[in-house]
Amino acid sequence: MKRLIFSLLLAASMGSTAIAVPVADTFSDPTMETRARALQRQLRCLVCQGESIDESQAPLAAELRHLVRQQMAQGKSDTQIRQFLVTRYGDFILMRPPLQPDTYFLWLLPFVVLLGAGGVAYWVIRRSKPVNSGTL
């Protein structure tokens, strides 16, 4: 949390010097641009309500977009960029929570519940008395 606050302050203080202009921040290469947009959608704007940095109009989001594009231009892979941002801001920046011991519960619960409910349903259907055959 401390790390997060610190980085936010840092980003806010830098805000005045490097305002990302949307037009300048576009790759001319369409595959790079598509990659950048996809990557931006996976990163959370840290100061907004559940928006990704792709959608957000907050200055910090513009900052992060700029950073992502800078690193892409340096030839870094998506994984490297995500890793860089996670070390800087923590897992909070990832829109898709990583699969790690403290998120197993999060990722597995829906399917455990689904299987459990399916099991109960199977049991109920098996237990139900079948309609007397012969009439149909």
């Binding site: 949307p22 037009v23 996976q42 929570p97 998120t103 409910a117």
Partner: protein, 644 residues
């Protein structure tokens, strides 16, 4: 004077709710029928009185807002003389105190309706009123002790502080009341279910059916309104964010949908008795949890007006008591209920059960996705924060719900107690044809061609095709026989809109100077500069963008950026031009110097279908309800087909 009147009305309402609780619960356990009858009458009269007094209190608060009576703190903090009338009224529920009063108003409306309609046996009605009274009492205490909307301010200020400009919008004026009619409407099913457990009586599912339907329809419309608002107001064309507050309304909807289906089987053949009870309890419990999440300040958003810890604590205790009490009652009484219906493995009953399995699975995904980050944050004392965004739901909720949609068409085809799977598949073949056509259209037209999009369109075609077949099959039946077909078709329509908008939206983000053009999708727009416009309580910068067909101007779109001086906030107001099949969507960004402005433009294919589908779903609910009320009023109806 006004404030004291409201306060007094609330106190009377509290007394009546306590009388209702006492009489209702005594009626549930009374020995002789004459005592039951007496208790039921007292509880019914109290319920109607409760509604009258809460309505009086609410009317008082509305009057205070309309007349800008700033001696009442709630009005001073949330209103302003210059606000248009509609936002003075909607300001009543645009804040914590007023929205809790609206909550209780809806709760007592349902209490009054239960008392008025008297569905179900005398003991059952009496017990249901008792439980509903207990809920009302608890929330009235919450209002009177922690969230009193009638507190005075002395001296009264000359001007109010205004309302969050984001909330000053016609869609959002309607959204909370609609959502509450749904959210809180599930209380009636909850009360009937608890009553059924208390008195061990059957027939509660039939008695509670109209309330379930109304709650479900209102939730459907309320969620759709909220999503529509987010779409046109937030300025980037999104319609669903998987925001915890949205999820808080989606969870009761999913469970209410499961309940509607399960209760159908319970009513029809006595199947799944205990399960249906559990769903009724679960649905309202999720409404309560949603209220807690939204109202306690655990989540900060436009919805979270309160961040007072005592309120959060009070609501939490209230919820734990309500949910814990109901579940305890369930654990104690449910085993005594008789179960075991007669049906084959392939039957309508099994299909409804399968529907519930997938709805419960998808609810679990939304539930854990919403609450787990909060729990993890609390457990690690803020050391570990994670975000659960759209990609999580795309990998958990979406596949589960997708399988559900695949299975939907089989339900109405299978007969009660005994179905014929092969015959159903044969009957559904034309729908399969429509699914293939939809998939081929995607492959031929769409760019980029994605697997998700192709599958989504195929399933939408499958759903809509199956509904058409169902409607054709039931030709000539009473209107309510088409309820399920319509609701299921609505799902298909929404699916078309959601997938097309998410996958094939064209967008442009340009900085334009007057006279310059920008293109988005098939459209060319010419920027003709901005104009300052004075609104009733805001100043707007209105951009003029001419939609061009070569050199001819087809239409001028005017996205705005509004500044609300009273509230000191800036809000974007988008411009949308719809053809019904796609939306051209413009939002004005920031000023770039030398007359240049940032403009965001989107072309969202099939976007209107998202909300049209919800409307069709709700219409399905309305047809079903209409059939019920007609039966209740004794209108002779043609031969009943196995409908719904």
């Amino acid at each position: 004077m006004l404030g004291e009147l409201g306060q007094l009305a609330l106190c009377f309402a509290l007394a009546l709710s306590l009388a209702m609780t006492g009489a209702g619960l005594i009626g549930a356990r009374a020995g002789t029928s004459i005592h039951v009858e007496l208790a039921r009458r007292i509880a019914s009269a109290s319920a109607m009185g409760l509604f009258v007094f809460v309505a009086l209190a609410f009317g008082t608060l509305v009057t205070a807002f309309v007349t800008s009576d700033f001696s009442i703190a709630d009005v001073a903090n949330n209103s302003h003389t210059l606000k248009p009338l509609i936002y003075k009224i909607s300001g009543v529920w645009g804040n914590h105190e007023g929205s809790m009063l609206l909550w209780v108003l809806v709760l007592s409306l349902y209490a009054g309706a239960v008392a008025f309609l008297q569905r179900g046996g005398k003991r059952l009605t009496s017990a249901a009123l008792g439980v509903q009274g207990l809920l009302a009492a608890a929330f009235l205490l919450f209002i009177l002790f922690t969230s009193n909307p009638f507190l005075r301010l002395d001296p009264a200020p000359f001007e109010g502080a205004g309302l969050n400009p984001l909330l000053q919008d016609p869609g959002l004026a309607m959204h909370p009341p609609m959502l509450y009619v749904g959210y809180v409407g599930l209380s009636a099913s909850f009360s009937y279910a608890a009553a059924a457990l208390l008195v061990g009586e059957d027939g509660w599912a039939r008695a509670a059916r109209p309330f379930m339907l109304i709650a479900w329809m209102a939730l459907t419309c309320g969620i759709a309104l909220g999503s529509w608002w987010a779409y046109y107001e937030l300025g980037w064309g999104g319609f669903w964010f998987w925001d915890p507050v949205e999820n808080a309304s989606l969870m009761p909807w999913l469970v209410a949908t499961a309940l509607l289906h399960s209760a159908l089987a319970t009513e029809r053949s006595g199947a799944f008795r205990t399960w249906t009870l559990l769903l009724a309890i679960g649905g309202f419990s999720l409404s309560l949890i949603g209220t807690f999440l939204v109202r306690s300040g655990v989540l900060s958003s436009v919805h979270a007006f309160a961040s007072d810890p005592t309120r959060g604590f009070f609501i939490m205790v209230l919820i734990v008591c309500a949910i814990g009490g109901a579940l305890g009652l369930f654990a104690w009484r449910a085993p005594t209920l008789q179960g075991g219906a007669t049906f084959d493995t392939v039957s309508r009953e099994s299909a409804l059960l399968l529907n519930n399995v997938f709805l419960v699975g998808s609810t679990a995904a939304v539930f854990v996705g919403t609450l787990y980050p909060l729990a993890l944050d609390a457990l690690t004392h803020g050391q570990q924060k994670i975000s659960v965004g759209p990609p999580y739901y795309a990998l958990t909720f979406a596949p589960i719900f997708f399988v559900l949609l695949l299975l939907v068409p089989f339900g109405p085809q299978l007969g009660w107690r005994r179905g014929d799977l092969k015959a159903s598949i044969r009957a559904l073949t034309p729908a399969l044809g429509l699914a293939v056509i939809a998939a081929l259209v995607v492959l031929a037209v769409a760019s980029p061609r994605t697997l998700t999009g192709t599958l989504a369109f195929a399933v939408a075609g499958w759903l809509i095709g199956a509904s058409i077949l169902d409607i054709l099959k039931r030709r000539g039946a009473r209107a309510s026989a088409f309820a399920a077909a319509l609701a299921h078709a609505g799902l298909g329509v929404t699916l078309l809109g959601v997938s097309a908008t998410s996958l094939w939206r064209a967008e442009a983000l340009d900085v334009v100077a007057p006279g310059q053009t920008m293109t988005v999708g098939p459209y060319t727009l010419r920027f003709d500069g901005v104009e300052r416009v004075q609104g009733p309580n805001f100043q707007a910068t209105e951009a003029h963008l001419a939609l061009m067909d070569h050199s001819r101007v087809v239409s001028v779109l005017k996205p705005e950026s509004r500044v609300y001086p009273a509230e000191g906030q800036e809000v974007a107001d988008t411009a949308i031009r719809t053809t019904g099949l796609s939306d051209l969507y413009l939002a004005l960004g920031d000023y770039r110097g030398q007359g240049r402005w940032t403009v965001r433009a989107y072309v969202s294919p099939l976007a209107p279908f998202i909300w049209l589908g919800a409307l069709v779903m709700a219409l399905g609910g309305a047809l079903s309800l209409w059939g019920r009320l007609r039966l209740k009023l004794g209108v002779p109806s043609p031969v009943i087909m196995p409908a719904e």
